[in-house]
């Protein structure tokens, strides 16, 4: 299969998934709960008030028409009004999204900085003490609930040692950098404000680590097993036989081909991080989209719930698309495999 063909096929597939997702979200938020207008106004609202809101939300129309209006609104960036903030949900999301993007980017950094080297080293010293230690770390990583990591981290680093702050993105007295991207770390660097940068970094260390814990475990194990797979290949034996230094073989000849597996798993790891963010943002009072989403769920703010779930689905589908395409680009065998599966 040609690469362009592969690309188009993947793109169409992603759009199909997103369309399905929008139907699913519509069912969850508009049909399952019965009457969102009644839920939004509470049990004491009068019948007229509920009818009025139903009319305003367009809920007195037929379901297919409601769905059509919903989709049409999406293309205009209109996700409806949020009951709790009385603003357009799209506006709310752009307000809360950067904090989560920052958190997850930092978490992915943790995953690669800790997970990949740990995997490489445990493959290199297979069955040694380092391998066993990293195995324990990986198992604990996938077994521990992220909010537990957050809470224990707060207890140790904030309360006992007193070196990291407990909650929020910045200390109360630290001035906010001028908003350009919304990412505090980036904005403070652009403004050249290193005090703010340091403070923001201090605040993000614990929460991002709590988000990353699952991913670190996954990536460590996968890097290890694919390194071990590669190490038994003939060309590695040949390289060793030529007397190429071990360190060179490990990092140059083995790490590169074993990078495809961790990269495809990145999509999975991204999913777990998005999920984890919902728990961690609650622990650290992190003003991100997950915290906004949780509040919307607890208060039955259906437009906001739909918006948040949709944006997360969009992010997830996009990341998977990019990862698939990259994998297909690096390793043409994946493209061929896809062709045979479809037949």
């Amino acid at each position: 299969m040609k690469f362009s063909q592969f690309l188009i096929r993947r793109l169409l597939y992603s759009i199909l998934v997103l369309l399905g997702l929008s139907i699913l979200i519509f069912i969850i938020a508009r049909i399952l709960p019965g009457d969102p207008a009644r839920l939004a106004l509470g049990p004491f609202a009068s019948k007229e008030q509920v009818e009025h809101l139903r009319h305003n939300m367009g809920m007195d129309k037929s379901l297919p028409l409601q769905y059509w209006n919903y989709i049409r609104g999406l293309f205009h960036g209109d996700l409806g009004l949020s009951f709790q903030t009385r603003r357009n949900v799209a506006l709310d999301i752009t307000h809360y999204l950067p904090a989560t993007v920052e958190l997850i980017t930092m978490a992915i950094l943790w995953v690669f900085v800790i997970g990949v080297p740990l995997g490489v080293l445990s493959a290199r010293y297979k069955d040694g003490w380092l391998d066993n230690t990293s195995r324990v770390i990986a198992f604990v990583g996938v077994s521990v609930p992220p909010f537990v990591v957050g809470l224990i981290g707060q207890l140790v680093f904030s309360y006992v040692l007193g070196i990291l702050p407990t909650t929020g993105r910045l200390a109360l007295l630290t001035p906010n950098p001028p908003t350009i991207t919304g990412l505090l770390l980036l904005d403070s660097l652009i403004a050249g404000n290193f005090d703010t940068f340091g403070d923001a970094l201090k605040h993000i260390l614990l929460p991002s680590f709590a988000v990353a814990m699952t991913g670190i475990g996954q990536i460590t194990r996968i890097t290890r097993s694919s390194m071990i797979d590669v190490s038994s290949k003939d060309y590695i034996e040949a390289a060793r036989a030529f007397g190429i230094p071990n360190r060179y073989v490990t990092f140059k000849y083995m790490l590169k081909p074993s990078f495809i597996a961790p990269m495809t798993i990145l999509g999975l790891s991204f999913a777990s991080q998005l999920g984890n963010a919902f728990l961690v943002e609650t622990v650290f009072a992190w003003p991100g989209i997950a915290k906004y989403g949780i509040r919307a769920i607890l208060r039955k703010d259906f437009n906001a719930i739909m918006g948040v779930v949709l944006i997360i689905g969009l992010a997830f589908v996009m990341v998977n698309f990019i990862v698939d395409v990259l994998a297909g680009y690096i390793d043409p065998r994946i493209r061929i495999q896809e062709e045979t599966i479809e037949e």
């Binding site: 597939y13 199909l16 998934v17 997103l18 399905g20 997702l21 139907i23 699913l24 979200i25 969850i28 938020a29 399952l32 709960p33 198992f139 604990v140 996938v142 077994s143 521990v144 609930p145 992220p146 909010f147 537990v148 809470l151 224990i152 707060q154 207890l155 309360y159 097993s225 999913a271 777990s272 998005l274 999920g275 984890n276 919902f278 728990l279 609650t282 622990v283 989403g293 949780i294 919307a296 769920i297 607890l298 039955k300 259906f302 719930i305 779930v309 997360i312 689905g313 997830f316 589908v317």
Partner: protein, 306 residues
């Protein structure tokens, strides 16, 4: 006539004896591999301990009445001691007792969720993989849509539509969990379908039903068993997350996630209300993950896709 029957039955019994011996041999080997693997032994013992504690909860815990709504304000926030191993919570309930009863809820959650979703996913996966065509497209594309969101977010969204209770949380998780098994079984079915022994059954004229359940399903079993064991940990993790956010088990039931979220409010000083339930849940999930990993080595299931 009589003679003939005798011969037939003896052939029959002989056949079952050999079958039995093969099975015994298989189990023996598997058990040998299991015993040799320190990871699976550790995980297995952890799981066994938790299950026993959970079943015997009313007999092994010092204050079984503390599991539900019970108040003893005089004994609130006792530090861990001989009479209260894990200390007491904000209304004086023994935390050790509540942790053990919390295991009951976690295990029940996993059993019910997987009891619904695994058979459902397996049947849909078998159907999609075996029949192919339009059925396959519909089932697998639906699966893809469900997999387009992180499991916790999807469970949250479904929970959002209802008033939160533990039963609804279970249903919410079950309604997304079948997709993983569907995908797994679908992949295996597709590759087994082309094997010669399946073709042979087809040529003999076996029904689709028989081929699916006698030829294909047994070959998916080890993968399903391993995946299910590993799932227990994940499902409990998600259940705990929902409870932590207030969308799962409602108080006064003892649930580990709810306990941690209540304990966290008193964090720096009353550390035991958070720390002990946290480690309890880690212990449980770690046990299942170690066991699952050991089983994977034992049953020789490929790592990919699980």
């Amino acid at each position: 006539m009589k003679n003939k029957q005798k011969v037939l039955s003896s052939v029959n019994s002989e056949f079952t004896t050999t079958q039995w011996m093969v099975l015994k041999d298989k189990i023996g080997r598997a058990w040998y591999r299991f015993r040799r693997n320190s990871i699976s032994i550790t995980g297995g013992s952890m799981v066994l301990l938790v299950i026993l504690l959970a079943i015997l909860a009313p007999y092994v815990t010092p204050y079984p009445q503390h599991a539900g709504a019970f108040t003893d304000f005089l004994n609130a926030f006792q530090t861990p001691s001989k009479s209260h191993w894990f200390g007491t919570d904000e209304i004086g309930r023994d935390l050790f007792t509540r942790v053990i009863f919390g295991y009951r809820i976690s295990l029940m959650l996993a059993v019910i969720v997987l009891g619904i979703s695994v058979p459902l996913g397996v049947i849909l996966g078998l159907t999609a993989g075996y029949f192919g065509g339009r059925i396959e497209t519909i089932i697998m594309r639906t699966t893809d849509v469900f997999l387009a969101l992180p499991p916790l977010v999807m469970a949250l969204a479904i929970c959002a539509a209802f008033t939160p209770t533990i039963e609804r949380a279970m249903l919410a998780i079950a309604s997304i969990w079948w997709t993983w098994h569907c995908r797994l079984v679908h992949g295996i079915t597709r590759s087994i379908k082309t094997e010669e022994f399946v073709q042979a059954s087809w040529v003999i004229g076996d029904s689709h039903f028989r081929i699916i359940f006698k030829d294909i399903l047994p070959n998916c079993m080890s993968a399903i068993i391993v995946k299910t064991t590993l799932d227990v940990g994940f499902v409990i993790l998600i259940g705990a997350g929902l409870s932590f956010l207030g969308l799962g088990t409602q108080p006064p039931k003892s649930d580990l996630g709810t306990m941690i979220s209540y304990g966290a409010q008193y964090l720096p000083t009353k550390w035991w209300t958070t720390v002990f339930p946290s480690f309890a849940i880690l212990f449980l999930i770690l046990g299942f993950n170690l066991l699952g990993d050991g089983l994977r080595d034992m049953l020789d299931v490929e790592t990919e896709g699980i």
